[in-house]
Amino acid sequence: MIPSKFDYVKPASVAEAVQALADGGDDAKILAGGQSLIPVLRLRLAAPSVIIDLGGIAELRGIREDGDHIAIGAMTSYHDIVRDDLVKQHVALLGQATETVADNQVRHRGTLGGSLAHADPAGDLGAPALALDAQMVIAGASGTRTVGAAEFFVDYFTTAIGDGEILTEIRFPKYTGWGSHYEKFNRTAQAWSMCAVAAAIKVDGGTISEARVGLTNMGTTPIRATGVEQALVGQPATADAVRAAAERATEGTAAPSDADAAADYREHLAKVLTGRAVLAAAG
């Protein structure tokens, strides 16, 4: 498959990239790992005139501890996230969700920033980012701003990243000592989620003291299952209590219907998978 013709630039810094975006105008497109953009180009669902490859910007890669946050560069690959000790220790849910994305080849190229910026509601990293209250650092011509995950996801493939802006870093509060689990349900082993649930749970003395639950592919954006979270807090971490709380998983969702799952089945899955995710997270 052959994409339409485009120009290619490879800036060496964020400032250069922002400049290239400004120069490129409406038609410029950022290239991160290419695992979504390249198929889109090859299927000619998009035909940008210029591609700005962020692959040459070292400062956008890497995972570091920054006080009570873990800061992850937008160009950090899935592969690096899955193996990182800081992630394992403080934002385990992100690593668990990342491990379910596609296969090794895709995980070597795909990036956290690319996935969040792409904002496919079936993407696996939106729900954990939302559940964990990630902060998105966005750079533009007038400097840098930070947007919370709740405001970041706007609609199908639409985020708070404006024209001429680049997502540079994703900052996660630390969830050290929490239990977590990403429960993914898909058609074949390496396919996208029909529905998935990201859960991080804090259990104190057998009682759930805090709960974060995010849903994948239950609406036009990742969705925070606040009803479930509220129902869980103060409950014992038992199967019955968790399943009862999970019944609220469909509150605020707008499940799509596709060939794999119509809305009613997705809603049913959301409840079952929420129960499983929370129980697994609670250990």
């Binding site: 669902l45 074949t188 060939a259």
Partner: protein
């Protein structure tokens, strides 16, 4: 005496790794798309997005002005409106055969049909310009449902035919005299309190062959012969059919199938694109290349299966089956493929499978719809038949309260009864169903799993266990030419081989059965090494080029070993016979006193001998050879089998079903196949594994989905869900051997066995897991959603399936916004 092969180290039966793999897996070989010729132009097809429409205008102006474009052509521009692609299997004298054009000129009949082509200096320029060709369409009603298509007043796919019915083909054992009458069997069963009549409808969903290498061709018109490289299974048939289609004399055509990346029947066609490349190469005098994208391949390459099967079985309460009545509707798509109308007919003879049914009637009506045409796909007709019979045997077992394997045993042909002439008049030469079944049941731990199933049912486990059986046989090794003639098939079924003994003792084997991934080069080398007593490494197998192997009928229908391999044996026998004459002459002995073994000709009772390589050199030098022969050991053979090949086997599947989500998890798969003697067990294992994956995929994963406008909605590998190794368990495969008596090697075909056998084993296991919950059927593919809905329905919960409003989630396509289906991403 020179070196001789050690007779104790026969090649036959050795698990050799394949000699072709190094070049295939390192990318060293050249597939068709890697062939680049000086001055070559590139073809891109402009395809209809609509299933059924009148073409009201084609504006080529912008495309013609696009950089690098040589020309944009419709059928009229090329003067090919009158050219029709061939269908070689008129199954009935009154079969309706619409002409399939190279490019649609007045009406498009399926989404993906070509309307125009762009020729440009590069593939990218051709692709860019194709977007600029503006075709105006007046939409017509699509024809999608076979039953509706046959109703009075239905929209007609081809109005000039006056009907959407292509043909109706009937076999009736009563009328044919091969068995008794089904009508009598049904009335007798209805009248008898100790008999039952059971009816079921099964749906064979539409599948896409999904070979790894998309289709491609390169045509070079610059020599005396027009050379065509094509990613095809059938270089010889393609050559003859190019002559039939375009009138280019056969002697002016050379067709080469270089290494070809899979086919599964999907590459047996004669393609409009191939013919367009030939026509344009002739017109421009330049080499032309065409290569399709994966989505074009899924959309426009022929599909497989797609039948509605109405089955009636009659039986005594003790389980003895008294008759089978089969009514099929088979979707041909918009036109007839090369052998498309005959595919369901290949199944006609297999509905009785391994059983001794006294009466069988088979009625198949082929139907035109505005979908992609269907044609052969791995198993071609036989998977469909095997599915129906093995499903209804399970249904009958439930109805009669008989253990499903016991019911099969009660009806199958016992090993003492071979050769056995079946109710459809085929003679099964050999087999032992008892042996394969006993071995499979033991490896499977059938009794243990049944116990576990009981326990899970009793405890109401949310994960339920199901066990599925498929005891199958099939007819392959296509085929005895006279039988094909009696079925009005447009060709014979022989295969050709030649052996050339080179001066230095090396051997070239030429076969007309050209591989596209099966491993012929290795298996055929093993056969020849034994036949001639030469080292395996000294044998080179040449194929797939009409200049090198001028004669052949190619690779499909599990025929390469049982037909092509036997042709090679026949040629080798001729080589040995000639060499023996020369050996006798040189050894100054009578020919009757010469023995041949392990590559050496010896004089009986002496240690005088000559190696076959020495004889080859002597024949080359030709200084001293018998008066009454030519100085030549080379030999040709054409082998026309007398019978089909009937491999069989017992396949057992255990699935776990998560009743909360409906997910089916294949836990265990055991199969014991009887494929006669085995040339190379490693190749056999590979064939069985791949076959199983494809058969299981029909049961659980794959389906070509069309929307109500006739658009294929899963035209990428994101949503046409092929399973990967991660979706399948480790298979437990093994073989037993009841040698075939119909050929000198005792071999049977294996290429399609796994696909034919596995689908019903899986679906039977899915239903077995759920039967106690009240579930009686789940359509294929048994997706988690379908299983969940079946469970809900059985519980009396009505579920409301909302219409599809998004594409499946997926790479790049993502969850496409229904309001913005072009999915312009942010």
């Amino acid at each position: 005496m020179t070196t001789t092969a050690d007779p104790t180290t026969l090649e036959f039966g050795k698990a050799r790794t394949r000699k072709e793999d190094a070049r295939l897996i390192t990318g060293r070989t050249k597939f068709t798309d890697a062939i680049n010729l000086h001055g070559m132009l590139h073809l891109h097809v402009v395809r209809s997005p609509l299933a059924h429409a009148t073409i009201t205008g084609v504006d080529k102006t912008a495309a013609e002005a696009s950089p690098g474009v040589i020309g944009v052509y419709t059928a009229a521009d090329l003067g090919v409106e009158g050219v029709g692609l061939p269908c070689a299997w008129p199954i009935t004298p009154d079969m309706k055969s619409p002409q399939r054009p190279l490019l649609a000129h007045t009406t498009v009949h399926f989404a993906g049909e070509g309307v125009a082509v762009v020729l440009a200096r590069s593939a990218a320029e051709a692709r860019d310009a194709a977007d600029l060709v503006e075709v105006d369409y007046e939409p017509l009603e699509p024809v999608l449902n076979m039953e509706d298509a046959l109703k009075e007043g239905a929209t007609l796919v081809h109005p000039d035919l006056g009907t959407n019915e292509n043909a109706t083909w009937v076999f009736d054992s009563g009328a044919a005299g091969t068995g008794s009458s089904i009508d009598e069997a049904i009335s007798a069963a209805e009248a008898d309190a100790d008999s039952i009549v059971l009816k079921r409808r099964f749906i064979q969903q539409r599948l896409i062959p999904a070979f790894m290498e998309p289709r491609a061709c390169v045509v070079d018109p610059t020599g005396e012969q027009i050379t065509v490289w094509a990613a095809t299974q059938v270089p010889h048939i393609l050559r003859t059919m190019t002559t039939v289609t375009l009138g280019v004399p056969e002697s002016k055509l050379r067709v080469i199938a270089p290494d070809v990346g899979g086919g599964f029947g999907g590459k047996i066609g004669v393609l409009p694109e191939e013919m367009l490349c030939v026509a344009l190469a002739q017109k421009t005098g330049k080499p032309i290349k065409w290569n399709e994208t994966r989505s074009e391949s899924l959309l426009a390459a022929h599909h497989g299966r797609d039948q509605i099967q109405d089955i009636t079985i009659t039986a005594k309460r003790d389980g003895t089956v008294t008759g089978l009545d089969v009514h099929l509707l088979a979707d041909m798509g918009a036109y007839l493929g090369l052998v498309g109308p005959g595919v369901p007919i290949l199944g006609a003879f297999m509905f009785n499978s391994i059983y001794k049914f006294p009466a069988l009637k088979f009625t198949c009506t082929n139907v035109f719809t505005t979908k992609t045409l269907t044609d052969a796909y791995r198993g071609a007709g036989r998977p469909e038949a095997t599915f129906a019979i093995e499903r209804i045997m399970d249904e009958l077992a439930v109805e009669l309260g008989i253990e499903p394997m016991e019911l099969r045993k009660k009806n199958w042909i016992t090993h003492e009864e071979f050769p056995f002439t079946t109710v459809v008049g085929l003679t099964y030469d050999s087999g032992n169903y008892e042996q394969a079944t006993a071995q499979a049941m033991e490896a499977f731990d059938y009794a243990g799993l049944r116990r576990e199933q009981e326990e899970r049912r009793a405890s109401g486990d949310k994960v339920q266990l199901g066990i599925g059986i498929s005891t199958f046989t099939e007819m392959c090794g296509l085929a005895p030419s006279r039988v094909l003639g009696s079925l009005s098939y447009g060709a014979g079924g022989w295969e050709a081989a030649s052996i050339r003994m080179l001066a230095t003792g090396k051997v070239e084997v030429i076969t007309g059965a050209s591989a596209h991934g099966q491993g012929h080069e290795t298996a055929f080398s093993q056969i020849v090494a034994d036949q001639l007593g030469v080292p395996f490494e000294d044998v080179e197998v040449l194929h797939g080029d009409t200049q090198i192997s001028p004669k052949g009928l190619d690779t499909y229908g599990s025929r390469s070993l049982v037909v092509g391999g036997i042709a090679i044996v026949k040629a080798a026998e001729k080589v040995v016979a000639k060499a023996k004459k020369i050996a006798a002459h040189l050894l100054e002995a009578s020919e009757d006193d010469i023995e041949f073994s392990g590559g050496t000709f010896t004089v009986k009772g002496t240690d005088k001998g000559k190696a076959i390589q020495e004889i080859a050199f002597a024949a080359f030098m030709a200084h001293d050879y018998p008066e009454d022969m030519e100085p030549n050991l080379d030999a040709d053979a054409v082998y026309d089998p007398e019978n089909f090949s009937y491999p069989h086997g017992t396949h057992l599947a255990a699935v776990e079903i998560d009743t909360e989500t409906g997910r089916v998890n294949l836990r265990k798969y055991v199969c014991v196949d009887d494929i006669g003697t085995v040339v190379n067990p490693l190749i056999v294992e590979g064939q069985v594994h791949g076959g199983l994956a494809q058969g299981i995929a029909q049961a659980l994963f794959e389906e070509a989905n069309y929307d109500d406008q006739g658009t294929l909605v899963n035209g990428t590998f994101v949503d046409y869900t092929l399973p990967s190794a991660a979706d399948l368990p480790s298979f437990d495969t093994s073989t037993v051997s009841t040698p075939a008596t119909s050929n000198p090697l005792g071999v049977k075909g294996v290429g399609e066995a796994g696909t034919i056998a596995s689908t019903p084993a899986i679906v039977n296991s899915v239903i077995d897991a759920l039967r106690h919950l009240g579930v009686t059927n789940v359509e294929m593919p048994c997706t988690s959603q379908r299983v969940w809905r079946a469970i809900q329905e059985a519980k009396g919960n009505t579920t409301q399936e909302t219409p599809i409003d998004t594409h499946s989630p997926g790479a790049g396509l993502g969850s496409i916004d229904p309001n913005n289906p072009q999915g312009e991403v942010q």
